[in-house]
Amino acid sequence: MSDKEIKNLEDIFEAKIARDEKIEPKDWMPEKYRKTHIRQMSQHAHSEIVGMLPEGNWITRAPSLRRKVALLAKVQDEAGHGLYLYSATETLGISREEMYNQLHSGKAKYSSIFNYPTITWADIGAIGWLVDGAAIINQVPLCSTSFGPYARAMVRVCKEESFHQRQGYEIMLTLCNGTPEQKAMAQDALDRWWWPSLMMLGPTDDASTHTEQSMKWKLKRKTNDELRQQFIDQTVPQADILGITVPDKDLKWNEETGHYDFGAIDWDEFWQVVKGHGPCNKERMQTRVSAWEGGEWVRDAAMAYAEKQADKKVRKAG
């Protein structure tokens, strides 16, 4: 194809997206659209899968059966979300194996929030409330993104996230209405998860390299800073109801703007964690890789069994 022909196809493509028409896997698309989607969708899938690890840490130690079944169901949902997203990404022509290799080799990123440790039970409450809360804010606009399989997967994910956030907030509420030690535990979890949750919504607009293109392709409907402001505005009153304090001395309601003003985010910390120097980066990948490698004989056995059964059927028919 000549450059002019490609340019023409690109114009038709961009116009289609501008009209809110969806792009399906077999439709023509610019290479950059395909690559950007493979990157973002696989990172999203990896985040769901790695996101199971900090929470899985507490399944055996959940304080009651009620909490335990809820946490199990939530972690199972995260696995499901990962699977929806992996299979949606596969429609763009990358194999599952290749995506796993990218994750395990460190080539692909996942949300850096999962590189923080879950050291008390209150962390499970804080993750549901804050991390899933921030995830919902990120994900709701993606339900109407331009790539059909991604949008459909996100509709399913968003339906399920609301339970995650509510179960987290209920854990926080119970702790905050409990003994002073329990309330202190909830405060400590908020202290440690607040800033990483704000960072989860991505670098500030002036430092974000993909925003403009992503807006055009409807991979983004609002900028990182707008999403962050929305998260803060809706979360601070929830902290007030719990009776615990957001760890930001500059946090103040601004009557004029109708939003909360907030303090400076430590972006050095963010980039350190992204670059692999967070508290748990190595541990997370080791756990993930050993689960994958330890499961290899099971996958091989299942495949061998399936082949044997298929052979039997053929022989019977013959």
Binding site: K26, L83, Y84, A302, M303, A306
Partner: protein, 99 residues
């Protein structure tokens, strides 16, 4: 990592779910499984954790033949100029009721 080792990957399956009797099966997504039985079990766990279905079909993805969107012209345009297939093509006086 075992990239040089010849491990066989589980094939891909397309999953169709009937959400309740009276409705058709609808495409829900896909997943990997060693065989059809496992695909059914995985589909139950992945796509119907909240009673989204009463019946599941699984079809190995390689068995699906799909039309090519680049040929949508010759494929679907013949229907575009056949307005006489639609009831509004036929002009009837207003007095005619129930038609």
């Amino acid at each position: 990592m075992s990239t040089d080792k010849k491990t066989k990957n589980w094939p891909l399956w397309e999953i169709f779910v009937r959400s309740k009797n009276g409705l058709e099966h609808r495409h829900f997504g896909s997943l990997h499984a060693a065989d059809a039985d496992m695909a059914l079990e995985n589909a139950r766990d992945v796509y119907t954790r909240r009673s989204e279905g009463v019946s599941i079909w699984v079809v190995e993805s390689i068995n699906i033949t799909a039309s090519n969107p680049e040929h949508n012209g010759e494929m679907f345009e013949p229907a575009a100029d056949k307005v006489y297939r639609h009831p509004t093509f036929y002009e009837l006086p207003d007095e005619v009721k129930h038609m």
